[in-house]
């Protein structure tokens, strides 16, 4: 009879407690690993968007309709005479205009994000700036400069900020998910842009 007596309440409680501790620890690790996975994926996605943004600004693209010169070419900065006068960002997404054609290559579903401080959560947030509509990955307006450090008035400096619009909203430090990129292009076109 002694050998079939089962477990005492204390034994069951102790084993339950031990199991709970193991599961809690494993869950904590799992959640931490998932968070790390999110962060790494977010940074890799930012890198990819930086390259895509660079490609659009430097090389342009192809539209489905014809522009001013009868072609479907959306000319990148390297194929232009002057930098665009219109903003190259709308609602945090790229809006690149050339040849009377517009490219908006990185649009995502619209999100409303409330600014809570300077640079929080969006890089261009200011204190009390209210709610922003976010549809892309451009953290600030791309800045061009041809007034200084320009070689033969042909080179243009371009600075743009890529942010991860999802991670900046939930990260403790949103600035970890925004990176500034600096590039220079030569304006190679010799006549006015179409």
């Amino acid at each position: 009879m002694k050998s079939q007596r089962g477990f005492t309440l204390m034994e069951v409680m102790a084993s339950t407690m031990a199991t709970a501790i193991v599961i809690a620890a494993a869950s904590a690790f799992l959640l931490r690993f998932l968070a790390w996975y999110d962060e790494l994926s977010a940074k890799i996605a930012m890198n990819r968007h930086a390259r895509e943004t660079y490609d659009v600004f430097s090389l342009g693209g192809l539209s489905s309709t014809s522009g001013n010169d009868g072609t479907k070419n959306v000319y990148g900065l390297r194929e232009r005479f002057a930098v665009p006068t219109s903003s190259m960002r709308t609602n945090y997404s790229i809006r690149y205009i050339s040849n009377n054609l517009t490219l908006t290559p990185d649009l995502i579903a619209s999100m409303s994000v409330t600014c809570t401080g300077t640079g929080v959560p969006l890089p261009d947030c200011t204190s009390g700036a209210g709610t922003k509509t976010v549809k892309g990955w451009l953290g600030s307006h791309p800045q061009t400069n041809t007034a200084s450090r320009s070689v033969s008035n042909k080179t243009v400096e371009l600075t743009f900020t890529i942010m991860n619009p999802f991670e900046v909203q939930r990260a403790v430090s949103p600035s970890l998910f925004a990176e500034n990129y600096h590039v220079i292009f030569t304006l190679n076109r010799n006549e006015d842009d179409p």
């Binding site: 050998s3 690790f29 790494l40 930086a50 450090r149 320009s150 990176e179 500034n180 220079i184």
Partner: protein, 222 residues
Amino acid sequence: MRCSDRLRSQRGFSLMEVMTAALILSALVVSIGGGWVVADRETSNLIIRQKAIFVADAEMERLTTLYGTTAFGALGPVSTTGYTETAAFPSTRLIYPTSLSPLYLTGTQDYTTTSANTFKTGSDFQVWISSNLLSSLNRAYVWVDQDHNVVGRISWTTSNISANPCTGLDTCSCLDPTGLLAGNCQKLVLYLEYPYRLVSGNAVAASTLQTLTLSTIVGRHT
């Protein structure tokens, strides 16, 4: 079954067994955690590398335009030596002079500086010429990531090339650097070594140096 056998079969685990299992589990968790730390570092390095690629490309744009539209190719570049970090790359290379002469760029357009402080506090697009008593030991640095104090060292080499054979009616030729006479096109190889950190006015190699190289053909055309 005898009573002693039953007791032996239900004796549970010894302290040594539990400790060994815990040790193995700990090693597993630590190695997985270490893997994540490495992955995180590599991802950060990837972002820095992407920025370095953009910067190398940017410098190539400026050099191509300088060589193509100004007399910079004649007397502009300064020959420097002592690049011995990577045996596969040349130890003698060209860099920017301490200032870009008005012959090439007007004063307001000069993007070089010899002041580490100006470089540190100024635009991301400046080139810092770290001067030495011997100009052949001067070095040129650019910002790869000013927000994270990552600097790259730039230099380049040129060699004359023959642009033949031509196709169609293209002249396939370059003028001499003054733009007045016939000359040679040149192959330009740009080197960007990073990461360096700007510490107390000096560029200090932060860890194992990475070298990016870009090649293009340059020559005076206007």
